[in-house]
């Protein structure tokens, strides 16, 4: 049994209670909205890209402690990085929280730095989307995708008129 504290580490609780870069960014030249319809988490990520580098990044929204902390720490770790570095970090982070089987035996990639505190997330499959939503939203912002990012693919196109379990 994994321990609750593997998920709710002190650093994560700290970032969820006092998120960094939690504001709008008027100078942003990229932005995207992310949404997790299962729990109602919403995140808007604002990015200022100068040349090839993320010169500033911020976020707004409401979410659980995992998604808020993930967004907060993400903004800290991508600031000043090139697009290519951000892409690589996205992949590493994604592997970390999904517990990608071929990566399991490897040590946590050193470039993740403080983001390693999210290693416990992979033990909680229903919370993986909480941690990854801000990152998917950042990626969408950088790629300039117009449609809001959803953790549920084509969620609005189900035509049976029903909901899930009540």
């Amino acid at each position: 049994m994994s321990d609750l504290r593997d998920l709710y580490q002190e650093v994560i609780i700290d970032h969820s209670r006092r998120p960094r870069n939690f504001r709008e960014l008027p100078e942003a030249n990229h932005r995207a909205d992310g949404y997790n319809p299962l729990c109602g988490d919403k995140a808007t990520v604002f990015v200022r890209v100068e040349g090839d580098r993320v010169s500033d990044v911020a976020f707004k929204g409401s979410g659980c402690s995992i998604s808020t902390a993930s967004a907060s720490m993400m903004t800290e770790s991508v600031k000043g990085k090139s697009r290519e570095e951000v892409d690589r970090l996205f992949t590493r982070f994604h592997d970390l929280v999904t517990g990608s089987p071929d990566k399991k035996d490897q040590a946590v990639a050193p470039e993740l730095g403080k983001l390693a505190v999210f290693s416990g997330v992979c033990e909680f499959p229903v919370r993986v989307k909480c941690a990854s939503l801000p990152w998917h939203t950042l990626k969408a912002a950088l790629e300039g995708e117009a449609a809001p990012v959803s953790t549920e693919v084509s969620e609005s196109s189900s035509g049976d008129g029903g909901g899930k379990a009540r």
Binding site: C39, S62, S65, G162, G163, R166
Partner: protein, 421 residues
Amino acid sequence: MSTAAETKRAKGTEASLDVAALRRDFPILTQTVHGRPLVYFDNAASAQKPGVVIEAEQRAYSEFYSNIHRGVHFLSMKATDAYEAARVKAQKFVGAASVKETILTSGTTAGINLVAQTYGRKNVGAGDEVLITGLEHHSNIVPWQMLCEEKGAKLRVAPLDDEGQVVMEEFERLLSPRTRIVAVAHVSNALGTVNPVRRMAELAHAKGAVILVDGAQAAPHLAVDVKALDVDFYVLSAHKIYGPSGVGVLYGRQALLEAMPPWQGGGDMILSVTFEKTTYNELPYKFEAGTPNIAGVIAFGAAIDYVTAIGLDRIAAHEHELLAYATRRLLEIPGLRIIGTAPDKAAVVSFVLADAHPHDIGTILDYEGVAVRTGHHCAQPVMDRYGLPATARASLALYNTTDEIDVLVKGLHKVREVLGA
């Protein structure tokens, strides 16, 4: 097999339930989750199943399974008899006048869509109106939205007050001569509010509209009598009443059902088919195309017997005691706020806890063995009404106890400790 429910019946009139004995009827309740005894408080999403229901489904498959209404062979006749016997139980359970008024569906959602697509498409035109309320589940919103969009009709929504009750003056004001259909929940899944459906039916009929009642959350908690409520359609799901999923009931007034076109075409809903013309079958089969969940319906019959033997009145009394206890204990927790405080409420407690996100509450409670629902409960407009993205919800059933509520309360203190909330 002698169940606790049968023992109860034998004992006669006992005021309170012997919950310890009833719990033994539910095999799943004995397990541990993360090393803690399971506390199952997600009954409004789906209730657990007693052994008699599980055995009924298994017996159907191992002793007399076959397709129904088709063969002249022994098994087909036996399966048909068992299936139709379950229909009679469902008819009596809701108080329908005959089996012709008792359509078996795959669940509440299917029942609502059936009425929207048949009665609705035939009777709602451009400029007409459909009236719902602010506390509806998505499945009693979206089918009407789809209908209104197709027909150029208007969807009207009666608002809620701060306690989670429909504002009846507004409901009455929104009813107009253009209102064709009124669709309301009997009990709100997100707030627990019991709607005054008898009064709503009276008001709807006075304007010449029909009323559909979504009884998914009501049927497990209060005795339903469609004739006393004087409603035109009543829909429910078996899985909330300790029965299997994929089974439901649509009650409809016979005259309305007769006049409605069929919904889905296929086998079992026809009398004769040629390439030129098909003659539709009689009620209730006209609305039952395709092979249904045969063993599931039979097991639903066992679930109806089970709750009837205990008595819905006694179940309701037990749940109300639990609700009062849960409400009192939860309000002792600093920062906890209950959403939905209507005086007439079923055993649902939706709550928020300071600035703790419900998703975090759900994960931490899970580690205490407590299963609650977190999120918008498929009722996003309800969440919007109270300015919340989500709530945590404990929904109670006949097998829950005050001790389990104490475990929930302890778990919520743990939430505060872990999150520093």
